[in-house]
């Protein structure tokens, strides 16, 4: 039954329910907004709700935030922007290509090849580290290259054992989001420091943080985009194939424009994830590439619970995402596929 069909008191009940939920979701935002205009005394002295009536608003928190007294606000904001945008763009781009390949092409490989990869990667690392006495970073790189090469070469031969396909690859991608992020964050930190010892600075660097975010966003991007691509009519691509359009042009010229709403939605979700991500940023940055969530949380630890400045910083962190969502949702017109097929 549609809500429009409701009549009389039922209609009012539905409206009241909606309003309660509206207030419930909006109140935290309102609370943060008013708190950011309170003085320290106004915050601790009991709950006050309405500016000029309950309490006298002050700009102190905002002034402190923008003047840089509360940590390098502008640098942090810029770092968040750069890392967030570039990681989301890269993850969406790479992930869509992977998802398209997984939807339209059949991959087959033996479980044995995958096992060879795992065994050589781990074994090679231990061997390099403990027997040959290599540094951790070098051992890691050598072992990885050897494992990849052997796995690729072994897949050329007809190996015994069960065969894996596209579904297994997708599961492997998605499985990376099944363990707690702290596991990955900690491991990444260790790896980055080791690679840092080789001379490539990854901790607190643009490359390091962006790579971590790309890697951690890819599973979601692939999963989402796979669904969008699967919904596309394959005949449109087949028509282009018969017309001798190269695969890359089919992808960029036909598939991507057709899945624009999906791309935008996926980009938005990735951006939201990267923008709000706390754990990786905490582990992998310390000053230059700190992101906004760290700044917001930092307001808590420096001089006790300074809710007024936390609120101000949190509001600033929300605004760019709201603007993004507003702009992008306009581009997410549905009905792009209309007319392609019956």
């Amino acid at each position: 039954m549609s809500a429009r069909a409701l009549t009389g008191s039922r209609r009012w009940l539905a409206l009241a329910g909606c309003l309660v939920w509206f207030a419930f979701t909006l109140f935290p935002l309102y609370w943060a907004a008013v708190t950011s205009f309170k003085s320290p005394i106004g915050v601790v002295g009991g709950a006050t709700y309405i500016p000029f009536v309950d309490f006298e608003p002050t700009m102190t928190a905002w002034y402190e935030l923008f003047s840089g007294q509360r940590g390098g606000f502008y640098d942090t904001f810029t770092a968040s922007m750069i890392v967030g945008l570039s990681a989301s763009v890269a993850a969406t781009a790479i992930g869509s290509m992977a998802a398209y390949a997984l939807v339209r092409f059949t991959f087959r490989f033996r479980l044995l090849s995958a096992l060879i990869f795992v065994v050589v990667a781990f074994g090679g690392f231990l061997l390099g580290r403990n027997v040959m006495g290599l540094g951790q970073g070098i051992a890691l790189i050598y072992a990885f290259i050897a494992a990849l090469a052997l796995a690729v070469i072994s897949s050329r031969f007809r190996l015994p054992g069960p065969e894996l396909g596209n579904k297994d690859i997708v599961f492997w991608f998605v499985s990376q989001r099944m363990f707690p992020p702290i596991v990955a964050a900690f491991a990444l930190y260790l790896m980055y420091t080791e690679v840092g010892k080789l001379g490539f600075k990854l901790v607190d660097s643009y490359i390091g943080l962006t790579f971590a975010y790309i890697a951690f966003s890819l599973p979601i991007v692939i999963w989402l985009m796979r669904d969008f691509f699967e919904a596309l009519p394959v005949e449109v691509e087949e028509a282009a194939m018969v017309d001798n359009v190269p695969t890359w042009r089919i992808f960029f010229g036909i598939v991507l424009p057709m899945s624009k709403p999906g791309l935008i939605a996926t980009f938005m979700i990735t951006l939201a994830f990267v923008w709000n991500e706390f754990l990786f940023a905490l582990f992998l940055t310390n000053s230059k590439w700190q992101t906004l969530p760290i700044l917001v949380a930092g307001q808590n630890s420096q001089r006790g619970d300074e809710w007024w400045s936390i609120s101000a910083a949190a509001l600033v962190a929300i605004i760019p995402m709201m603007v993004m969502a507003g702009v992008l949702s306009r581009l997410m017109r549905s009905g792009l596929l209309l007319g392609a097929i019956k």
């Binding site: 009519p233 005949e235 449109v236 087949e238 028509a239 282009a240 194939m241 018969v242 017309d243 001798n244 359009v245 190269p246 042009r249 010229g253 036909i254 424009p257 057709m258 009905g335 792009l336 596929l337 209309l338 007319g339 392609a340 097929i341 019956k342």
Partner: protein
């Protein structure tokens, strides 16, 4: 020269064989229609010619080239799909010209080709529109336009009209035929609609379970089906079948079937039938051949269940013995459901099939 030759071609998906070894030769400039019930392998065969499916074994030749291993784009075919498969984000003009643009054709030449295609297909005033702003028939014309600017060796049509309404389908049928007559390009056309097949084809290939049952011109298919499947598939309403035996009577051969059916076989038709005396056979007679005015024609008794007045004549549907039977009767004939009528049989139009193999007895 762009004849198409399929030599011992097969297709299996995993362990399921969809097409057992199949041979088909399509002459240059010929319009061949592959027809059959759904799942008979006709679309798979077409897609193997296009290269969208690779043959499990066998050879596909277009002209003098062996294209078996070639990817679709290099086979110089054009394909029109059942669901149009237009590029939804491009205008009609861009849709038609996209392939040329990708191949690096100069813009002036693309414009000329697009304009010409639009003129032929009556799409001139829609060139700037997106496919979503077109009707089904217009969309399919855009798809055909996209196919003709390619100047292909072979046109491939995969049930292009089955998404259109009945009236438009008849119009487009003629349009495609005229187009073929003008362009003189070899065409392979897949449909499940036997009327479409009969009306459009130079040669109809009737397929069933991946095999070719008969490949012949429409009239031969209608008049001389080689087996029960083709006989039942071609013609609407479809042929009636009565099971029985050929027996030797006093004045020649007689077909005797269930429900006291006894049809004397004229001497002219007796030759081949003499060889199958006392074997189970099937007599086939089309509904349109049950209206003979010959007073000597043998008759069968039809238990009428329903009548379908069509205007020029009426169909009486019912049973002869236990077999379903449709007879064509004059429009004002006094026939009503639950009646029994005596239906004359035009003995010159009878078909006989061996029950064991299904093959026609000739």
């Amino acid at each position: 020269m762009s004849q198409v030759r399929l030599e011992q071609i097969t297709k299996s998906f995993g362990t399921v064989t969809v097409i057992p070894p199949l041979d088909l030769e399509i002459a240059d400039r010929e319009f061949v229609v592959l027809v059959g019930p759904s799942g008979c392998g006709k679309t798979t065969t077409l897609r193997m010619i296009a290269g969208l499916e690779t043959a499990s074994s066998g050879t596909v030749r277009i002209g003098d080239r062996d294209v078996t291993e070639l990817r679709p784009g290099l086979r110089n075919c054009s394909m029109v799909f059942q669901n149009y498969a237009l590029y939804p984000h491009m205008t009609v003009a861009e849709n038609i010209g996209y392939g040329m643009k990708v191949r690096g054709t100069p813009k002036a030449e693309i414009d000329r080709a697009v304009t010409e295609a639009a003129r032929v297909l009556n799409l001139g005033s829609y060139l700037a529109r997106k496919p979503s702003a077109l009707s089904g028939g217009q969309r399919q014309r855009v798809a055909i336009g996209r196919a003709i600017v390619r100047q292909p060796d072979v046109f491939l049509f995969d049930e292009p009209l089955s998404n259109l309404d009945a009236k438009l389908r008849v119009e487009m049928r003629t349009e495609i035929k005229l187009l073929h007559r003008r362009l003189q390009t070899t065409a392979v056309y897949v449909t499940h609609d036997q009327v479409e097949a009969m009306t459009m084809a130079d040669r109809v290939v009737v397929m069933n379970q991946g095999r070719i049952e008969q490949a012949a011109d429409p009239i031969t298919l209608y008049e001389a089906p080689t087996n029960l499947f083709v006989a039942a598939f071609i013609g609407a309403p479809s042929m009636n079948f009565l099971e029985g035996r050929i027996e030797r009577g006093e004045s020649g051969l007689v077909f005797r079937g269930e429900g006291e059916v006894a049809v004397a076989i004229p001497a002219a038709r007796s030759g081949p039938l003499a060889a199958v005396v006392d074997q189970p056979v099937v007599l086939g007679i089309r509904p349109e051949h049950t209206m003979t005015t010959d007073p000597d024609a043998p008759t069968v008794t039809l238990q009428v269940r329903d009548i379908e007045p069509l205007g020029p004549h009426t169909l009486a549907l019912g049973k002869v013995g236990s077999a379903s039977f449709t007879a064509q009767v004059p429009a004002h004939a006094p026939v009503a459901p639950e009646n029994s009528i005596s239906v004359p049989i035009d003995t010159s139009k009878m078909h006989f099939f061996l029950k064991s193999t299904g093959f026609a007895i000739r």
